[in-house]
């Protein structure tokens, strides 16, 4: 419906009346007639002559495109910054390190924060939609964190940036955000994408902090986004409590943090995997960037006291199952 209204506004048409107003799919259909998009929102452009989109390679399925070259070249190119974080595998057993402020890393497996998978995927989908899009993936972290920039390249990002720090844990959200903001400040990104939170800390701070530091509008917990035809605005659906959604519009450039489930992340293509392995990254020594403030002081880290856990059942699986049936029978009247 929102889409429909925007299109009508752009074309100075009165909104269609009748069932179109109430029905999302018919709104899409109407939209498809007007601008030549198919009802499922897949970009099929009108015009003559097909032009290869720069750098798209073989990401996912390619649709036949018919792009009016002249119009296409006048459109500004959209630059997207997608920020990714390396996190420990959450299934790990953690031990406190000797400083008492973090965990021992020796046997820990690290990977990309899964919320960032969705952010990278969304940037690639925007690129498939708008074509002239350039995606830069960035991380802040020690040497080992470089793996997640390469991972983002595998998934379809064009450029990789690594802001190298010497501290691997206990990075402060303001510290990280200031680094990212300092890097992004003069780079004319139209869109900055983040995962809604990191799996390891779940504080949900970095995206909005970067936005506030750069004085950009932002939206969090985004589950869908639509960039306007003139590429001046983005309209997003934010997911709130209980599945309620809020629809918000803001001008670009803007910062979005995406919620899991916004898309279904793809597997990396072989060609992107090969490219990612060899591609040079832009490496910046974050310690040489101007000093930044912190927003907290980490005093100590420790394992939770065992008394907080529930009662573990003992014995073979058969015995545990029998015990559980007895417990359920005695405590809850449901059997």
């Amino acid at each position: 419906m929102l889409l429909l209204l925007q299109v009508c506004k752009a074309l100075s048409l009165p909104p269609a009346s009748g069932p179109v107003k109430k029905n999302r799919s018919s709104a899409r259909f109407f939209y498809s007639i007007v601008v030549g998009w198919d009802p499922l929102h897949v970009p099929v452009r009108l015009g003559t002559g097909c032009r290869e989109a720069p750098g798209i390679g073989k990401i996912g399925k390619t649709k036949p495109c018919h792009v009016d070259t002249e119009v296409y070249e006048r459109e500004p190119s959209v630059r997207i910054l997608v920020c990714v974080k390396q996190v420990p595998d959450m299934e790990s057993t953690f031990r406190i390190d000797e400083h008492g402020k973090g965990f021992e890393e020796s046997h820990t497996v690290f990977r990309m924060n899964s919320y960032d998978d969705y952010a990278v995927e969304e940037s690639v989908r925007i690129k498939e939609r708008l074509l002239d899009v350039d995606i830069t993936a960035l991380t802040v972290g020690t040497q080992r964190a470089q793996a997640v920039v390469r991972r983002a390249l595998e998934l379809g990002a064009d450029q990789g940036v690594h802001l190298v720090t010497d501290r691997s844990q206990g990075m402060d959200a303001l510290e990280t955000s200031s680094r990212i903001a300092a890097f992004a400040k003069d780079q004319s990104f139209e869109l900055l994408l983040f995962g809604v939170m990191s799996e390891d800390e779940q504080f949900s701070q970095t995206g909005p902090m970067v936005a506030a530091l750069l004085d950009l509008p932002y939206a969090t917990t985004v589950v869908s986004e639509t960039i306007s035809e003139d590429r001046q605005h983005v309209t997003v659906e934010r997911e709130l409590e209980g599945g309620r959604r809020q629809i918000v519009e803001m001008p670009l450039p803007a910062v979005l943090t995406v919620q899991s489930g916004i898309n279904r992340p793809r597997y990396a293509s072989l060609s992107n995997k090969l490219r990612a392995r060899k591609q040079e990254l832009q490496v910046v020594d974050a310690n040489r960037m101007s000093p930044v403030g912190r927003c907290q002081e980490l005093v100590r880290a420790y394992l939770p006291p065992p008394s907080e856990t529930g009662m573990f059942l003992e014995g073979t699986l058969e015995e545990q199952a029998a015990a559980l049936v007895r417990i359920i029978h005695e405590n809850a009247d449901v059997l």
């Binding site: 953690f94 909005p208 902090m209 506030a212 939206a219 997911e239 403030g293 394992l303 573990f312 559980l324």
Partner: protein
């Protein structure tokens, strides 16, 4: 610290003109902090109209309420909220600003913290005031606890995890003072266009007596069959899910239990392969009896559960099904 009363603001969360219950939980937390540091609490209500909700809070809790009434505040708009809080802070910023760690808190706290040049402590679930003020939070799915301290004399923005405290219940001697400021709608770049209610759920988990919740550990659709079978053994049994499983497309979002899904309180909640992220546990804390089936002894969910079975659920659930049928005499042991 005699003479230096610290001002503590608690931001009320509201929806459709009603104060959200989580506001009163955060108030309990803020009240404990206030007693420890001799602070004075004011509840801040940004709304339109602001007076009814301000009145309700002042009457129920006895705390002073500052209401800012402006048209754009009838719904949450992060940019407008920041704008209004910043203008309130011009006449003296608070020492502490407490916000619920909800989608509002996630959205607002980092931004307002940058605006106020504040310390920003997010996802707090406790505090300690013996040697200076330390705030506590869980990281790595609850496997590690961190104590953090605000920096210097700056204001401190804290988001408090829902469920940390009970709703504020102390009966006041007298209602708190109410101050209402009428403000023109701040100019914002973000425009809230509309709110969309979730489609009426085909699966109303609130009616269920027993919920078998499937988490990421279930793995694939094939393994989901035994979860469905276990749920079908109970007269009012239903299958619930944690968010990752819905994101994987294995169960519809309508089955989701937690912050962005349904809030449930069955007699029995059996969580299979659920890691126990706070976004999930927020939705099932009120269950009478909670059982965890998990391969990871250190999973956060084992702390939420009354009873834990450390096992591969694909082996254990079929055995459990047999035992239940045998208990009822429907199948020989």
């Amino acid at each position: 610290m005699p003479g230096a009363t610290k001002s503590i603001w608690v931001l009320a969360e509201h929806s459709d003109g009603f104060v959200q219950p989580v506001t009163y939980e955060v108030l309990t937390f803020a009240d404990k902090v206030a007693r420890a540091i001799q602070g004075k609490i004011s509840v801040v209500v940004l709304a339109h109209p602001a007076r009814p909700m301000a009145g309700q809070i002042a009457e129920r809790t006895g705390f002073d309420v500052i209401g800012v009434d402006t048209e754009t505040a009838c719904h949450y708009n992060g940019e407008a909220y920041r704008n209004l809080l910043n203008s309130l802070a011009l006449s003296g910023p608070p020492s502490f600003l407490f916000i619920p760690h909800t989608t509002m808190g996630w959205d607002l706290a980092p931004g307002i913290a940058v605006d106020l040049g504040a310390s920003s402590l997010s996802g707090v679930c406790g505090f300690e005031a013996d040697r200076g003020l330390l705030f506590r939070r869980r990281i790595l799915n609850g496997k590690i606890i961190q104590d953090v301290r605000p920096i210097g004399d700056r204001p401190v923005v804290v988001t408090v995890v829902p469920g940390t405290e009970d709703p504020y219940g102390t009966k006041p001697n007298a209602p708190g003072n109410i101050q209402i400021y009428e403000r023109e709608a701040p100019r914002t770049r973000t425009r809230v266009l509309e709110h969309v209610e979730p489609p009426p759920s085909s699966v109303d988990l609130r009616e269920a007596e027993v919920i078998i919740a499937a988490g990421r550990g279930v793995g694939d659709a094939e393994n989901l069959a035994c979860i469905h079978e276990l749920a079908s053994l109970f007269r009012r049994g239903a299958v619930g899910a944690s968010r990752p499983l819905c994101d994987m497309g294995l169960l519809p979002l309508t089955c989701q239990v937690g912050m962005t899904g349904q809030t449930v309180s069955p007699k029995l909640y059996i969580a299979c392969g659920v890691s126990g992220a706070v976004q999930h546990t927020m939705g099932m804390k009120a269950s009478d009896m909670v059982v965890a089936i998990n391969t990871d002894r250190n999973a956060l969910f084992c702390r939420e559960a009354h009873y834990c079975v450390i096992a591969d659920l694909h082996e254990f659930v079929p055995i459990l099904i047999n035992k239940i049928l045998a208990f009822r005499g429907e199948r020989p042991e």
